[in-house]
């Protein structure tokens, strides 16, 4: 691929169709006997997306490799019967809903980090956090597996117009200098279980601190995610092919 950037200035590959051989990567992944997990939340009306997400993920996400799907929901009774591939497992975890949507994103990060600590770290090697209101349309394979992985937002903007244009410089997520690397979407990120733990801990701590100071940063957890990734650069980036916002 010559038409796109395939390597960041810190030598992290940017994954686009045509830059990799899934066969070679599959062989490497199999050598190591890895298990990958997916975390997603279906709270309130979002239970509606469960079937579409799980059935498409079952078909296209790391097909042929064991995947643990961890589905957090406040409506376990609304979950339809889902046929899983033999190597995959679905774990439904009941959570409480929060009255304010701003609290939801904080609590997601917090929930993820505490579950990593108490459970996921013993069950998976890699963990990916995704929004549930998506469907997989094509294969997403082991090319996404690396220590700390973020997806370039399809709203990628120029350095000067930051999407999360911070009007509260005292917010924990205000960018001290906009380096204009990349803007990442909070809808699909992941990596090794230890890296995701560190990331979710840092983001939820930042969100809590903002709340205590009465600040609510626009796009919330996404701002915190981006701030974290500016200081702890991802080891691999996924192109916007991996999460395309159809509102564009």
């Amino acid at each position: 691929r010559r038409d796109v950037l395939v390597l960041t200035p810190w030598l992290a590959p940017i994954v686009w169709e045509g830059t990799f051989s899934r066969d070679i990567l599959d062989a490497q992944y199999l050598q190591k006997n890895l298990v990958t997990g997916v975390v997603t939340f279906a709270v309130e009306k979002y239970w509606f997306f469960i079937e579409g997400f799980v059935s498409s993920a079952n078909k296209y996400f790391l097909a042929g490799h064991p995947v643990n799907f961890y589905l957090f929901t406040d409506n376990p009774e609304k979950i339809p019967h889902l046929q899983m591939a033999p190597e995959n497992h679905l774990f439904v975890i009941t959570v409480q809903n929060h009255p304010r949507w701003q609290d939801i994103s904080w609590s997601h990060m917090d929930i993820i980090s505490s579950y990593i600590q108490r459970q996921f770290q013993h069950e998976v090697d890699y963990l990916y956090c995704m929004d549930i209101n998506v469907q997989f349309l094509a294969h997403v394979g082991v090319e996404i597996i690396d220590a700390l992985v973020a997806t370039i937002s399809s709203w990628q903007v120029t350095p000067q117009q930051d999407k999360a244009s911070e009007t509260h410089p005292e917010s924990q997520s205000a960018f001290p200098e906009v380096q204009g690397d990349f803007y990442y979407t909070a809808s699909f990120y992941g990596g090794s279980v230890s890296e995701v733990y560190k990331l979710t801990r840092a983001c939820s701590a930042g969100l809590v601190e903002d709340r205590e100071n009465g600040i609510e940063a626009p796009c919330h957890h996404e701002s915190h995610l981006n701030r974290y990734l500016l200081q702890h650069r991802p080891t691999r980036l996924l192109s916007p092919e991996y999460y395309w916002d159809t509102e564009l």
């Binding site: 395939v6 390597l7 810190w10 030598l11 590959p13 830059t19 990567l25």
Partner: protein, 273 residues
Amino acid sequence: RRQDVLTVTPWLAPIVWEGTFDPEILDRAYRPLNLTIGVTAFAVGKYTRFVRRFLESAERHFLRGYRVNYYIFTDSPQSIPRPRLQPGRRLLTVPVQKHPGWQEISMRRMEAINQHVAKESHGQVQYLFCLDIDMVFHNPWGPETLGDTVAAIHPGYFDVPREQFPYERRSSSAAFIPEGEGDFYYGGAVFGGSVKKVYEFTKICHMTILADKANGIMAAWQEESHLNRHFLSHKPSKLLSPEYIWDDRKPKPPQIRLVRFSTVNKNYKEVRN
């Protein structure tokens, strides 16, 4: 960015070329880690004459500002020059036996490096580079080169179809690579990685070299052949472009914007006796 060369392998390992990375971003990421990087180089017999230039040029260009341990493997420690080194950098000699024939010496490097890691360097360094001594640094070699397993693309074969790679083609050798297989031809003069990974693959290469010895066969390019066999099945996590392993006798093609590390012109017949 570079559009004239391949900068990512099909297994998503970066290929480091000038213009693909920002040295400042990498420095900012690596400096705080307080790393010590090791360098092994073999100066046996007449090859001790290359040590001074190697070390002096490394002091100017190799991971400047980082802590470095130079491990010079030699049969005559007393003839190793000890130039002044920057702070945080030190020179240690490692005794090795002299062997008849340069191929023998070359073949025993894997074993020597592996044993030294087990005995000493694993506790001293986090990353290790194994370099040929008869070479000189001309331009910066920085933390862009650090990775789990690092191999360098041989300058003679980076632009050449794989059928022409001088892999070992005899199936009786443990370094055998059949026609139609192979990603790159890696040079034996530069390889490295995390100290753990270097320990692992030098052990494996040493084993395959011994297997060949037992069968009375010596691979076409000695340990370089075995290294290539290993890196075919265990792909490196990072590749260095030929900027990092250049041969000054070759004319510089446009893809080579700068030469960081290259061979010293020498009389092969003279030094190999």
